[in-house]
Symmetry: C2
Amino acid sequence: MKIYFNCELVSEEDARVSVFDRGFMYGDGVFETMRAYGGVVFKINDHIDRLRRSLTMIRLENLPLSDESLCEAIYDTLNANAVTEAVVRLSVSRGEGPIGLSIAFCRQPMIVIAARPFTPYPEDYYTNGIKLITAKIIRTPANALNPMIKSLNFLNNILAKAEADDVAAHEALMCNVNGHLAECSTSNIFFIKEATLYTPSVKSGILDGVMRAQVLELACEAELQVVEGEFFPATLYRADEVFVTNSVMEIMPVTAVDAVTYPVGRATVKLMKAFSKHMERYLQPRQYRQ
Amino acid sequence: MKIYFNCELVSEEDARVSVFDRGFMYGDGVFETMRAYGGVVFKINDHIDRLRRSLTMIRLENLPLSDESLCEAIYDTLNANAVTEAVVRLSVSRGEGPIGLSIAFCRQPMIVIAARPFTPYPEDYYTNGIKLITAKIIRTPANALNPMIKSLNFLNNILAKAEADDVAAHEALMCNVNGHLAECSTSNIFFIKEATLYTPSVKSGILDGVMRAQVLELACEAELQVVEGEFFPATLYRADEVFVTNSVMEIMPVTAVDAVTYPVGRATVKLMKAFSKHMERYLQPRQYRQ
């Protein structure tokens, strides 16, 4: 595998950061995970926009690459690995710096791009749904470290995911400090009740997922009203249908949250189909470009 | 500089972790910062005990080294660099793993030890005190990611420190989600009022600092009662004296918190002297060993 590393493509063996890189020392950086379909990175501009917002929020604004150069670097990485169906991870750390937390002396951010062949989730996850548990650990509140920052500080999510693994659930749902639903360890949550699609609002302390935005856009095609708000788990338990989203899993039905079960419902299937159609349209014109 | 890296001493140039190391990808690991005096690492066992507690709390328990081997590795690193007055950083990450948050497939933790010559803080900090500000950002609550875990997730502290840097303050004081005093970005806070020494309790959501424990032990030598509790900033503003502690700065007087000023008080100086005396006693017998 070739990795984009500090402005050049190197072998995986050579893609190594100093132990004094602040990414390794403090998780001091941000990242994006994207999906390439037929060689086209879905919503690449949205991902780069969000990366910029994350960078601004952690005050890392001296990136040596323009948005266009970042796009180019992502496609160069895909091409160097000759992968078209891929998961792309773009990470930016604050680079090396002296000991201590001050950010003033970190001169050179570290940019890493890896493109791995996409391994599909088991088909069964989409046809029969996955199981969630509500984690005991709460989502880090926005006034401590805003979940809108897709940062390299992921221990909160990792410990939530470990709670899910303990009971052989697929994902961990996290509530915020007020007890409202926030998001899952690596996905956004949605539920449907009587032709309305509900999802925790950004005010709930979540990452504003690129796939989340896509689903909200598609809701009217599936004849669903949309309500973004603050919801307690009890409301989710009474839902008709539940699903989660992220850029890699897309729309994945949920058939159990804790002890409550749900069918893979008609509206969820409609949304999944609407997304497939949208992807066809999205990819069509772009293929001529190549 | 020689770095202890994955069970051997290598040059700084070769001390590089894979970009797929979970320390770099997710801040998935823990660390300790220690101080060596005359070649003796102060409270090394307390640091290793805390490292173990941190590791347990993040479910990273397959460390290939015993406590004795960790101690040995620390001293090997000091000796390889021929430093006796040093700051030692011991980091443990979960090592490389497949993409995704599950910890189940990470087989080989990464252990890194670096020993840098100790650069003293300006003498002025100890004689005239430092300035703190109260950060707007709150300390991550214990039910999201316990501050008792000295983890590689340090963005919360980094962003607090940046607030201090903005106004040329030396340290940022963070409150918890309830508005109680918690701790500074890399130090514990103490204040004195009428012969009583106050410090936020562990319940306030703090790291239980090794130097904090040392100061609490020394309090009676300085004729101070000790109260660990939950305090609002207003209580701190009304204090007679304030200081902060960590293993590198030891006891450092604080002469301003926000708009409130304090003298470098008699009790603080007494504690600083008690600590110096304690260090003499602490180092004495150990020097025969070497």
